[in-house]
């Protein structure tokens, strides 16, 4: 029979350690500032359709049932389903993040993203070459956080090294994103040297690869990134990000010199993404570029983000090299949706579950569009996305004995 157990009493026996405690709260003001960049989708763009199969593949086909010549069949008519497997002319570029000692850095290991030769999780065609990677947000100063998130990090806010350690050791982050918010001229206006001190501490605290995030001011970020590149050559950071309104040539040159990778960020427009990548090709190798096509929250433009990314990935596989880069998603933007944090009517509570599920849903949707690197926030969302990517790449088969008879589940 239906269990009527209330969620509060269930928490203690939560088998997977999802600590979803009740005083989780909301209003991620910070993520409302990182939130939606303006974007739009031009109707005409949609006429550029990248279609699997356009490469001249012939689909295997089934035989159609014979015309019924009176009389119903007495036995099953056996036929076969031929898996519609295709090949694609292009491969998504592989990008390495982080560098070990032997690779010229200090990280415990490096990670590779990209390299796909099929659309996301078309494992009936061929396996995914690399698992998508999750990097957790760490901020270098106190920022307004949703309570749902804050309860997990409250002890480490203001201490980026401790925060990074928590992200890696407790929340199982593959990478850490060091957001250098304090350099913002409108906030603390910290100097590039201050930023480097923070990075040094984080490098000491954890040995995972790092994403280095700026404050969003194109001039200040350029100065900060330049100093970071001078101070930490060889670590193979992902510099987040280079945008069209920055001095692209200058940034590309100092990032290349230090051996880091570039996150090429554009506002939800594939033509702008191509254009920025073309500008970067003059100074860096394709293997140095990850692209961020802008993530909008579930309910607030996720459809645009999804379609943009799915098109970019199909385009990349079908031969559009300017889009054949691994994709990163600022999935934390999910918290910009008010439904992720707002106290709503009783029938929609608890928001402590609704919020992280909002982030999970945003992440999983984009996972299926082809995202390789997720910048995330809530530990429960991180854990779920990790579980799902592990499942999807496990190569295991479905357990029929357990699930085929769902009709009789006594739930």
């Amino acid at each position: 029979m239906i269990s009527t157990t209330h969620h509060n009493t269930d928490k203690k026996k939560d088998a997977e350690g999802l600590q979803l405690s009740e005083d989780l709260l909301a209003a991620l003001a910070k993520f409302q500032t990182i939130e939606l960049e303006d974007f739009q989708l031009d109707a005409k763009e949609l006429e550029i359709i990248f279609e699997a199969g356009a490469a001249g593949q012939i689909m295997p086909k089934l035989k159609l049932p014979p015309a019924v010549t009176g009389g119903k069949p007495l036995n099953m008519i056996q036929t076969t389903f031929l898996p519609p497997i295709e090949t694609y002319p292009n491969k998504i570029t592989e990008v390495k993040l982080g560098a070990t000692k032997s690779e010229g850095g200090t990280r415990g290991r490096s990670l590779i993203i990209g390299g796909e030769v099929s659309p996301a999780f078309y494992t009936f065609e061929r396996p995914m070459p690399h698992k998508p990677v999750i990097t957790l947000d760490v901020f270098d100063m106190e920022v307004p956080l949703s309570k749902a998130v804050k309860m997990h990090v409250k002890d480490v806010v203001g201490d980026p090294a401790a925060w990074a350690k928590l992200a890696v050791e407790k929340f199982d982050a593959d990478m850490v994103t060091m957001h250098l918010i304090s350099v913002d001229p409108l906030l603390k206006d910290a100097t590039p040297k201050d930023a480097c001190k923070t990075i040094e501490k984080v490098l000491q605290a954890v040995d995972v690869p790092l994403v280095i995030g700026g404050c969003g001011d194109p001039v200040k970020d350029t100065a900060v990134f330049e100093e970071v590149c001078a101070q930490f050559p060889g670590e193979r950071f992902l510099i987040s990000s280079v945008t069209r309104d920055m001095d692209v040539e200058k940034c590309a040159k100092f990032i290349k010199k230090a051996g880091h990778a570039i996150l090429s960020f554009t506002p939800m427009d594939l033509n702008l993404a191509r254009e920025l990548n073309r500008r970067l090709y003059d100074y860096v190798a394709r293997e140095d570029i990850v692209m961020d096509l802008t993530t909008a929250a579930l309910g607030y433009g996720l459809d645009y983000a999804f379609t943009n990314m799915e098109r970019a990935r199909m385009g990349g596989l079908m031969g559009d090299s300017e889009l054949a880069h691994p994709m990163s998603s600022g999935t934390t933007n999910a918290w910009a949706a008010r439904e992720a944090w707002l106290k709503m009517g009783a029938e929609w509570e608890p928001r402590e579950l609704r919020g992280p599920l909002w982030e999970v849903t945003t992440a999983i949707t984009l996972l299926l569009a082809g995202v390789d690197l997720f910048m995330m926030m809530h530990p429960a969302a991180v854990k779920t996305l990790k579980d799902v990517t592990n499942f999807l790449t496990s190569g295991k088969k479905a357990d029929l004995s357990k699930y085929a008879n769902w009709v009789s589940i006594k739930a």
């Binding site: 099953m76 579950l353 699930y403």
Partner: protein, 474 residues
């Protein structure tokens, strides 16, 4: 390629359709002429049946040809009867960027025949009453799945009867036992429920029931696509036309098989024109409950919800869920709404003056674009901070701020016109307007054309509250 070539969107031109129309230019369909109608048909903006002359006997042949020409890659099937009957399938394409997906995934919530009558009624009513207002749309649930867990025909019959008395929502009758299924059908003989399911062992009896009660039937072959298409082929040969495919849904390590099966079937249908794969797909996220054990209910609902969302993205046309909490259903229903919007249209809201809180003659006046996502973000930032303000929404044809300025959709002329048309001049005693930071380039021009002083505001609307405290003085 397949000889049964379906209506691939690109190869179908309005001329192909026009040639088969009566060419009377009678305007009965509401279009100016037959060519205009043909164009709308190709764009799937109108249905072919709105051409009345097509029903004349002399046009019967062309009508049949048109129906064949326009046949979607995935068959459209109706479940239920009456105003709440639900169309499922009818998909034209595989990828969302190719064309708008038709018929949003129908979501069913289950009841079992071992629940008490009052529990059945309360669950069904909760399903029926689920409603969430989201950007001008009402999100709803669509069906009730009645599961037989008792293996008792009388109990199942009673449960189906109770459900059909409680709601007009279509039902899915779930039992693999044909005798029990028949008992259920007898309780609602004209309700046209979806019958779950015909399998490789019970198909003949289920096919008979589907024919007798004129209801669609699910062909189920867990993780065996050969058996699944064989079953579909057999049912078709038996005379059953409305078939839904259940390739099996498996949580955890079964997710790759689940996603692969759905993806292969949809690709075979849309790209390969395969008729046996070109049927609506059923997903069952509630399989997550098979893992219940000691696991917290909320965690199962959480898993069920993300499996449902994966299947909304990966081609499910119907989903059966057990968890019916608002927090777990909301993300999936919002995602479904997102995925099923027209990918070609920039979402725009109506331009004009919006009033927040209780502004007075000294309150700030701001402007923004009518791109829905920009507007809702700005509106949310104003509302959630309980500000008293006027917001003028300028018609930028759905362009965002920076692209609107760059693309000449957000111009000083349009802003000046919008200020004038808003009538805000009569509501405040100042003449100062706050511009989005990203529109600073046109602020001088706006001042010249409107006579209003422009204050350049923040680049991101989340900073509006802080900006107003620091920079706004009436």
């Amino acid at each position: 390629m397949s000889e049964k070539k379906k209506a691939g969107l690109k190869e179908l031109s309005p001329i192909d359709v026009y040639k088969l129309l009566p060419k009377t230019n009678c305007k009965e369909c509401g279009q100016d002429n037959c060519m205009a109608f043909a164009t709308k048909i190709v764009n799937r903006e109108v249905e072919i049946d709105s051409c009345k002359p097509l029903f004349k006997p002399e046009n019967a042949k062309n009508y049949a040809k048109l129906q064949d020409l326009l046949k979607p890659a995935v068959k459209e099937i109706v479940v239920g009867v009456g105003e709440k009957a639900k169309k499922i399938g009818g998909k034209l394409v595989m990828y969302r960027h190719e064309f708008t997906y038709k018929n949003p995934t129908a979501i069913a919530i289950d009841v079992t025949d071992e629940m008490s009558e009052s529990e059945i009624v309360s669950r069904v009513q909760k399903t029926d009453n689920f409603s969430f207002e989201y950007i001008g749309n009402t999100l709803k649930l669509d069906m009730v799945a009645v599961r037989c867990t008792s293996e008792d025909a009388d109990k199942f019959k009673a449960a189906v009867k109770k459900v059909s008395e409680t709601t007009k929502l279509p039902m899915i009758l779930c039992t693999l036992n044909p005798a029990i299924a028949e008992a259920g059908l007898m309780a609602a003989p004209k309700a046209r429920p979806l019958l779950y399911a015909a399998t490789t062992s019970n198909w003949k009896d289920m096919a008979e029931l589907a024919l007798m009660y004129n209801c669609p039937v699910v062909a189920s072959a867990p993780n065996d696509l050969n058996a699944l298409v064989s079953l579909a082929k057999t049912l078709m040969a038996y005379g059953v036309t409305d078939i839904v495919l259940d390739p099996g849904t498996f949580p955890a390590e079964g997710l790759p098989d689940t996603i692969n099966n759905f993806t292969m079937l949809r690709r075979a249908a849309t790209k390969g024109g395969e008729e046996l794969a070109g049927l609506p797909l059923l997903g069952v996220p509630m399989v997550a409950w098979a893992d219940k054990g000691d696991t917290a209910d909320d965690l199962i609902k959480w898993r069920e919800a993300y499996i449902a969302s994966m299947l909304v993205v990966r081609y499910a046309d119907v989903l059966i869920l057990h968890g019916n909490d608002g927090w777990s259903l909301l993300p999936t229903t919002v995602l479904r709404q997102n995925i099923y919007t027209d990918p070609r249209k920039p979402v725009a809201v109506a331009p004009g003056l919006k009033v927040y809180g209780t502004p007075d003659e000294n309150s700030p006046v701001l402007f923004t674009s009518n791109f829905a996502l920009t507007f809702y973000t700005v509106a949310s930032d104003i509302e959630s901070n309980k500000l008293n303000a006027y917001l003028i929404v300028v018609d930028t044809e759905g362009s965002a701020i920076d692209s609107g300025v760059a693309g000449r959709k957000l111009t000083a002329e349009r802003v000046a016109d919008a200020i004038k048309a808003s009538g805000v001049e009569g509501k405040v005693k100042h003449k100062r307007i706050i511009s989005p930071g990203k529109a600073s380039r046109i602020s001088g021009e706006i001042e010249e054309l409107s006579g209003w002083k422009v204050q350049v505001g923040p680049r991101d609307s989340s900073e509006i509250p802080k900006y107003l405290i620091e920079k706004w003085q009436p």
